[in-house]
Subunit: 517 residues, 2 copies
């Protein structure tokens, strides 16, 4: 089977999407997730002297990856400067990455109207920049910006830009539909022409955007005509209407077009990876997303279910498990007694039939209320322990009170008071914090740390808030996810309430309880 | 210019989407909106004796439409029954609509596995059902269910089903990709074959689903090979991953492929129509939707803005006004003075050079602190107003205090107290809420509503919380985004603080301030 490679630009182009922002360590987690999925090339961004980028590249250099190659992104040299003297190019070649992706102008209209660079100078900029990177030992991908617009306007010049990059040593030229203007037939015709002219000298890549709602089909059209590297982002993140959605492209290439892209096991982790990236970006997964959405294989019962039982092809375009999705992702369907018992077993909890039935009922109610245990396995385990009669409360809460006050002078102060009982003894503690949840956390720990010294070692590593049912304004239900860790393990808990403080409290208590079960 | 017609199935297939439901009168409003947009055929649903459907068809029969034709939908007759004796067909032909769309099996696999009907009987079901409708004076569209799967499996039988419909008098055969399994090349090849065999005897239609993320491209591939009726839904509503999205298909046909579909004025109402339908269906418009999303023509300032000013083609695949959308220049870390001034101009704010420089400096600082104005244009406008010396504060805050208390009995209560001054008068107010932000919102409004009665009309429509730098646990910085609306407009504001209550307060105050500027 012929190979097609994926090139993910979530960390550069994806970050141009509205509201997207990730810390350096979150970006490193994205890289690990993409590597585990089998993505061959991962674009990390522009290396620069900006401290945030320095930190990111330092972190990425230390990652141990299975097969992915990290690419650094930059532009062709400035006009009127020798490539050697261009500081951005210097930073680029100094980065640790074996591959450099250079973007350059390819559409004569942009030279005239935007950069005011002559056609000849632009060719020299491409050629000399690629040559410099090659001399410094880098493999080079040339991103031909606005290629398809340029090809329609002036094919001779657009092709000359590709020739300049290839002659100077680029191993791949990636044809970009930067404005997302093209339809599949236009992509196919232009890619076929490039393949006929340059196909033997360089690999072709395809990089498109979804402005016409054809990002997936355009990428596939490019592959059909010879592109063997597909650039895009997981879940189609990106500015405007987004980049080509690799989450839809990967299964089409592998399951419908017969290409070899990733292993079967990796493909089966697609849904999980897509949801993990949404989680890191604090986005709600699109329930209607092709292949990975929770509705992607939803059936309305009756004839569908009978048909599926007779032959799944009758109502499903692919087997959902191939991409790690489920025929019916409703929590009620997932939480059969067998699932509950196997979950309990994994956690070392003995649970009888009656308790499993109670756990299912509680789970259904909780999921209806907005709980989401996939991201909070520790809270789920506590629920099982409770139903199995194995739950030991750490303390009994008598009351708490959190006061946030903005004084006349403008300073904001928060303090929390907590009353708890442990083994018949009452503890009362007050603490300040930089926010209500922080204050509550400190007060609770202060109250019981003498009794449970291990508490001092538990760190809250991640705190996420999602407003469910956002249409209800500030009266909406809030879901809090909390990640905690001690020196040995990490665990996730959840709380849900109309009141963000109560939701946070729930997740906090679960977190501390879990550490002592 | 050649004509392509749109056939909207929002009221039938669209209603299969998760959470979709419309009353009869809302459906009538949808029909009027589609008619105004220029949609040629509108499928109303299954006429039946169900009182809701009776009411709908009665309402629709009374509508005065500009050009749209209403279609009633039904299935081919039951097996083993004469068409004349089938009660569902009887209801169908009795409905007021001039056009009847009949769906029938076309894939032999379904006959074997699902309906257990012989191939011959299925052909008779198609033929006799179409014939009955024709005899009763109806125009007939035959929806060939699972056509593309059937064509790949057994092309001879799939084509025989079409022949049965056409021989019996169907004016149109619509080729359905019911499971959304096909890629554009498959659609193109099959449609071309049908066109060659039947193109002179019947019009071809194309009806696809978005399970492979290719719904738009598949529809366009069908048109390229001869289909002249495109079935789909506004905004791509529909079960699983949705139906083909007419909102993306219409501008591609008219602006990119040169077909005549609707008038220029009608095309310019596309964005408004798409948003109206979302509103009727109680869905939040997708900000990243092709053509009609608020990000579809977003630009990040700097070079983009300069390019657009020189020639809009440089960075825009179509003129946004052609589909009734707007260019949206985003304030961002990259933005220069030109962007600031153009933003100010759009908001009707006169800003001099010095003020623009100050605004840029403040913007940079704020973005460094975690503000993100792209999603909060109202807060950005207030910042500009402030720097331009045009900002009028609504009130002066003296202090607030929010108390959340969990009592010994387990009940959680929240109350907020606020002291503000307006025009030298002091106002003190306390309010309860289901969470701290809700309580604060109520207290603030309560305090100043007498002075600003318009406040009562302002609704908080969406409240989002994002924890930045999540690695700091519950001590992390919080960003709050708030959407508000009155009867005329919608606006978004932002607040950032380590304290979620203070961050929410900031966004809340900006929201109310903005309404009065």
């Amino acid at each position: 089977m012929e190979q097609v490679k994926l090139y993910d630009t979530t960390l550069r182009d994806g970050m141009q999407g509205e509201g997207m922002s990730l810390s350096a360590s979150e970006k490193a987690r994205v890289v690990l997730a993409l590597d585990a999925l089998g993505v061959q090339m991962i674009e990390a961004g522009f290396p620069s002297s900006n401290p945030k980028e320095v930190e990111l590249f330092a972190q990425l250099a230390e990652l141990e990856l299975q097969q992915a190659t990290i690419c650094a992104f930059g532009m062709t040299r400035r006009r009127g400067t020798a490539a050697e003297d261009d500081p951005a190019l210097a930073t680029l070649v100094e980065s640790f990455t074996p591959v450099v992706t250079l973007v350059g102008k390819t559409w004569a209209l942009h030279l005239e109207k935007v950069t005011k660079v002559s056609r000849e100078e632009n060719l020299a900029m491409i050629s000399e920049s690629v040559a410099l990177c090659r001399e410094q030992g880098k493999r080079v991908i040339y991103d031909a910006e606005h290629f398809f617009d340029g090809y329609r306007d002036d094919p001779g010049y657009a092709l000359a830009c590709l020739a300049a990059a290839i002659d100077a040593g680029a191993e791949n030229v990636s044809l970009c539909d930067t404005n997302g203007s093209s339809l599949p037939d236009q992509i196919a015709a232009a890619t076929a022409d490039v393949g006929a002219k340059f196909g033997e000298r360089a690999e072709l890549g395809i990089h498109v955007h979804d402005d016409a709602g054809c990002g997936v089909a355009n990428s596939l059209a490019g592959v059909r005509e010879g592109a063997r590297l597909v650039q895009g982002t997981i879940n189609g993140y990106g500015e405007r209407c987004g980049n080509a959605n690799l989450t839809s492209i990967l299964p089409a290439l592998q399951l419908k077009m017969g290409f070899e892209v990733v292993s079967d096991e990796q493909l089966a982790s697609l849904t999980e990876t897509a949801h993990l990236l949404d989680e890191l970006c604090n986005l709600t997964p699109n329930p209607d997303a092709p292949y990975v959405g929770r509705n992607a294989f939803a059936h309305k019962g009756g004839m569908h279910v009978a048909g599926i039982e007779a032959d799944a092809r009758t109502f499903e375009h692919i087997e959902p498990a191939l991409v790690g999705n489920n025929r019916n992702v409703l929590p009620s369907e997932l939480s059969g007694k067998a699932t509950i018992r196997s979950q309990a077993e994994q956690a070392g909890i003995e649970i009888d039939d009656e308790a499993a039935t109670r756990a299912i009922a509680k789970l259904k109610q909780r999921e209806h209320d907005g709980y989401h245990y996939e991201a909070a396995p520790a809270s789920f385990e506590l629920l099982l322990r409770y139903e199995a009669g194995l739950y030991k409360p750490l303390f009994r809460l008598e009351s708490y009170k959190v006061v946030t006050e903005r004084r006349a002078g403008g300073e904001v102060e928060t303090e929390a008071t907590i009353k708890v009982e442990v083994d018949g003894k009452h503890y009362l503690r007050v603490a300040e914090g930089n926010g209500p949840v922080n204050a509550l956390d400190r007060a609770l720990r202060g109250a019981i740390v003498d009794r449970y010294p291990h508490l001092a070692e538990i760190e809250l590593t991640n705190y996420k808030v999602r407003i469910l049912d956002q249409d209800h304004g500030t009266g909406a239900v809030t879901r809090v996810l909390l990640d905690s860790a001690d020196s040995e393990r990490e665990w996730g808990t959840i709380g849900v309430s109309e009141n963000i403080i109560e939701a946070s409290w729930e997740a906090l208590v679960d977190s501390l309880e879990y550490a002592f079960q």
